[in-house]
């Protein structure tokens, strides 16, 4: 008797399970798999809620975490992909697209996105992804009050940047604060510098080739980018504390030098997120007045002013009406305004009002992003970890601490040879 009722319950459960699966496949529902958790997940749920209210389509948000690429591969192969998914980077999006797993999206929905982001999500002229938001790394932080006091002008080219640095030195100051120390991740700050310089001296195509190890680390263009980086960081007059200062200063403490009296330095190259460190240390400073940003200037004219950063990218795996509606919504200014508001991220849709940003600096960074000609993801994140967060980080530390550049690049090349 007991046995029988148990099997009835079991069958009931199975039926319920089967019905749920069928239910998911029904109309008016769409599922999205995301990497986010915590604050970001909450913000995202808030965003899709608007979509649900507007369209009556139910959205199931599934938080998968950092391993999303592996999970997606398995689910695509098993014929059970989510309708929409967040993809960690454009490289992985391209892989899915080439496997035929992604659905081509109508380009009209990204009309208001900067061309750089449309290009980044395009494979063989087909649009396979939509950017929700981005972070920006190609920024130089400075203290506008000190600049005004000394009569310094924001540099618009690399030569002006070097001239300004020389001028600061001539006036008895130190132009740069650089902090490479970051515990077990020491060196990453330098990789961002080198990537920004690579984009400006070798161009985005060469940059991609470099990230994918289609050119060697010992190649002249890579060598040149490191040397340009070295021309700043290894010049003891340029960096507060010289190379030892750069090696031993914690990256989060490093911008503090802009605000001492007299200033220990005048410029600091770092991504948007560093603002939270500045706010922690100096809560009384007014963003936009006491500190401000300018775009890391172009070096070789032909490559213009590309931007470095990271972004939140979503792609569609199923070709249903609901999926396309959700993609269209995620690309819209309406969705992105809600999404970026609390997170301090930068919206990609250029129609997003600058009023949604919490402070003038984030708004300014969003403005810089909206004018992007070229945008590239942080290369060290895309390389195999043995290189991108291994020999590249230690290579930066070795180079700055005085080791010969050719030797450093050979070491990285050897590890890249094994890792790719």
């Amino acid at each position: 008797m007991v046995k029988k009722s148990f099997s009835i319950v079991l069958i009931g459960l199975l039926l319920a399970g089967a019905m749920t699966i069928v239910g998911f496949a029904q109309d008016n529902k769409v599922s999205i798999a995301v990497t986010w958790s915590g604050e970001e997940l909450e913000a995202f749920k808030k965003t899709v809620k608007i979509f649900e209210e507007d369209t009556g389509i139910d959205v199931t948000v599934e938080s998968i975490g950092r391993d999303i690429a592996t999970v997606l591969v398995t689910r695509v192969e098993g014929g059970n992909p989510p309708d929409v998914a967040a993809i960690p980077n454009p490289g992985q999006m391209e892989e899915f697209a080439k496997k035929g797993a992604l659905v081509n999206i109508d380009k009209s929905i990204v009309e208001d996105h900067p061309q750089a982001f449309v290009d980044l999500a395009t494979v063989n002229d087909n649009l396979y992804g939509v950017f929700l938001s981005a972070d920006l790394k190609s920024l130089v932080w400075y203290n506008p009050k000190e600049f005004e006091k000394q009569g310094y002008k924001v540099p618009e080219t690399w030569d002006e940047l070097i001239d300004l640095s020389d001028q600061i030195v001539a006036n008895g100051g130190t132009p740069w604060c650089i902090g490479l120390e970051s515990g077990a991740a020491s060196g990453w700050v330098g990789t961002d510098w080198i990537e920004d310089i690579m984009l400006r001296t070798a161009g985005p195509d060469m940059y991609d080739a470099w990230v994918n190890h289609e050119i060697e680390w010992t190649d002249a263009v890579v060598h040149r980018a490191w040397e340009k980086f070295g021309s700043i960081i290894k010049n003891p007059d340029y960096v507060f504390g010289g190379t030892t200062g750069a090696l031993t200063t914690y990256f989060g403490d490093s911008p503090a030098g802009l605000f001492t009296d007299p200033p220990r330095c005048y410029m600091h190259r770092q991504a948007t997120f560093i603002q939270s460190f500045i706010k922690d240390q100096y809560p009384d400073l007014v963003p936009g007045e006491d500190y401000d940003i300018f775009k890391f200037p172009p070096i070789d004219e032909e490559h213009g002013s590309p931007l470095l950063g990271a972004g939140d990218l979503v792609s569609a795996f199923t070709d249903t009406e609901e999926t396309h509606k959700l993609m269209e919504f995620l690309a819209s200014a309406e969705a992105q305004e809600v999404w970026v508001k609390e997170l301090g991220k930068l919206a990609v849709n250029t129609n997003v009002s600058s009023e949604v940003y919490p402070d003038p600096i984030t708004a300014k960074a969003a403005g810089i992003l909206s004018e992007a000609e070229t945008f590239r993801f942080d290369g060290s994140d895309l390389m195999p970890s043995a290189v991108g967060s291994g020999t590249l980080w230690t290579g930066v530390m070795d180079y700055v601490s005085g080791e010969d550049l050719t030797g450093v690049l050979k070491t990285i090349e050897r590890s890249a040879d094994e890792a790719y």
Binding site: L247, R264, S385, A386, T394
Partner: protein
């Protein structure tokens, strides 16, 4: 009866054998096997990982540094411990002094590394030094020194932190051995006109030799696996890499299970002789008794 006599011993040791094979023997064999495979343990690569371990420049530095650690760390902890054990035996405030020296043992190794990272901290000349050592140096008019960056001395500054912690341990064990030496021996030597120096070299030291050997081998086994100090203070930058830190990186950062396994096997092979020496010594002592 005879049957039972044959089976019973096996029953008694069965739990130990099962547990050991499960938690020790099986993982060791598996690690050795994995060390011949590639990064995701799928393809057989032969001795490629071993070639890497012995030819990669960073690995060569790691071997050199492990050798430095084994020699200097062991020599310094044991000799400081011995000297302190003998000297403190003669002072009235022995227990207080011993407690103070033993105190660092209570601090975790990561904690100690963080403390010493601050002690060694460097700030550019002209702004206040937050590191104790550089504060002292600049107080006497010197230029601040980047202790953890200056090669090759940085290795010794990290080794010193290990010595700071472990000297207390050596001192306590050696002090117990010292107090076990029959006082009559020393008394009669003094009566015969031996100097304190001669007593130390010809009576104390020989009688303490077995304990010193045990302490020293324990230190060697411990220091071959050294990891925490380097991981926290420099993470192997500036030529301070050690084998265990590299193993950690290969395993958890680069996800290269083959190389991580290889380094584990190398450490195991390096430790085995020391263990054998230790076991032999135990056996010999038992025979003497």
């Amino acid at each position: 009866m005879i049957r039972a006599g044959k089976v019973k011993p096996w029953l008694y040791i069965a739990p130990v054998v099962i547990l050991l094979s499960f938690f020790l023997i099986y993982p060791s064999i598996k690690t050795v096997i994995l060390s011949f495979y590639g990064s995701n343990s799928q393809e057989f690569v032969g001795v490629k990982n071993y070639v890497f371990a012995f030819t990669n420049p960073t690995m060569v530095t790691a071997f050199r540094n492990n050798a430095l650690w084994v020699f200097f760390f062991t020599a310094l902890t044991v000799s400081f411990g011995l000297v302190l054990a003998v000297l403190l035996d003669r002072v009235a405030y022995e227990s207080v002094a011993k407690s103070v020296i033993f105190l660092p043992m209570a601090i975790s190794m990561v904690g100690a590394s963080v403390i010493w990272k601050f002690v060694y901290a460097w700030r550019p000349p002209g702004i206040p030094q937050i590191g104790l050592l550089n504060r002292v140096v600049t107080f006497f008019g010197g230029e601040p020194i980047a202790w953890l960056i200056r090669k090759p001395w940085n290795n010794f500054f990290i080794i010193f932190v290990g010595v700071w912690i472990w000297t207390g341990f050596c001192m306590v064990v050696l002090s117990a051995a010292y107090k076990n030496i029959p006082r009559q021996l020393m008394e009669s030597a003094r009566v015969d006109g031996a100097t304190e120096w001669q007593i130390f070299w010809h009576i104390t030291l020989p009688l303490m030799r077995p304990t010193i050997a045990v302490v020293a081998t324990t230190m060697v086994v411990f220091v071959l696996k050294i990891f925490d100090f380097v991981y926290v203070m420099t993470n192997g930058n500036y030529n301070t890499e050690v084998i265990a830190n590299r193993m950690y990186k290969e395993m958890f950062k680069f996800q290269h299970f083959g190389r991580a396994g290889t380094l584990a096997v190398i450490l195991l092979v390096l430790i085995i002789p020391v263990m054998i020496i230790n076991i032999r010594r135990f056996r010999r002592q038992r025979e003497i008794r």
